[in-house]
Symmetry: C2
Subunit: 158 residues, 2 copies
Amino acid sequence: MLFSTKAEYGVRLMVELGREPGSTPVSLSSVAESERLPLSYLEHLVAKLRKAGLVTSTRGAHGGYRLAKPAEEITMDAVVEALEGQIAPMECFHDTPDGKVLCSHEDDGDRACATKLLWTRVQGGVTKALSGTTLAELVEFAGPGVRGERQTPVGTAA
Amino acid sequence: MLFSTKAEYGVRLMVELGREPGSTPVSLSSVAESERLPLSYLEHLVAKLRKAGLVTSTRGAHGGYRLAKPAEEITMDAVVEALEGQIAPMECFHDTPDGKVLCSHEDDGDRACATKLLWTRVQGGVTKALSGTTLAELVEFAGPGVRGERQTPVGTAA
DNA sequence: CCTATAACCGACCGCTTCAGTAGGATTTAG
DNA sequence: CTAAATCCTACTGAAGCGGTCGGTTATAGG
């Protein structure tokens, strides 16, 4: 498996938040219920999302979480990276702040690391897929939620 | 990390075999030495490659491993899959024999799984990168090996 | 003020995988 | 016969995964 359920659950959580009109915060427990996921585990995941600046929280009664910016401006590479950590195909594969790709085995004399070409291509494929997908797309793809905000019900004739 | 060192080591091993003219088998110990990898660990990896039909072995003294087919005909998706197992972005994500993509959460009523769109794209990006790369490309990219078969030394003027 | 509801935080736990080691059995060239 | 090699199984320490638990803080409503 390329990713763990942290990415799966976390993305589902983000979609759930993205469904909400905007101003009203959504409680984790309601997300846990509608997605049938353990609340206490979601707490860990949402903490990562918050630290990454993707969601904001309001504490106390009637509190909950909201998207930090509109769903159209949230690309999934940021979301997945917040949840899973740096996305690289291989341990020896860091991309530096300035966008370069490094491989720890580069010092093997002058010859290039045999696998670098392959991992670079894989890296490219993944990041392209992730950064080319916005949260808004997923929200629309998922359709209306379990909760009852059924305006313009998708799937039925207008 | 998307992949473990099993893929890294295994690919390096394949490249090492791909460097050889063809008929003479390469012993694992020589691969282990030139790639500076633990021999006994390579044994596990090469077993997977052999079971996947990517390499053939000859036992006994002067034995070793050879590619089962020319490097141009070996695509890296087969190699990585042999080493890492089924390549899917997410646990709930199987591709059936007939090429379809399945998601375990499909039964959540009639609405599609929110994350399916995302994982499908990631899957596509990865498999495209892997299946679009042949072992021959990597062998050429890596340049001449540590062993002394220096005909047409790359990097020096002809 | 009290209480219910919520976000926060850290410790813990069983399980699986990873990376590697160890020891042996079998095959084969010289 | 012996050295070199593949082959096979079992084991191990460390880390991550998926999840639980208990407790602290903050806040809206009565």
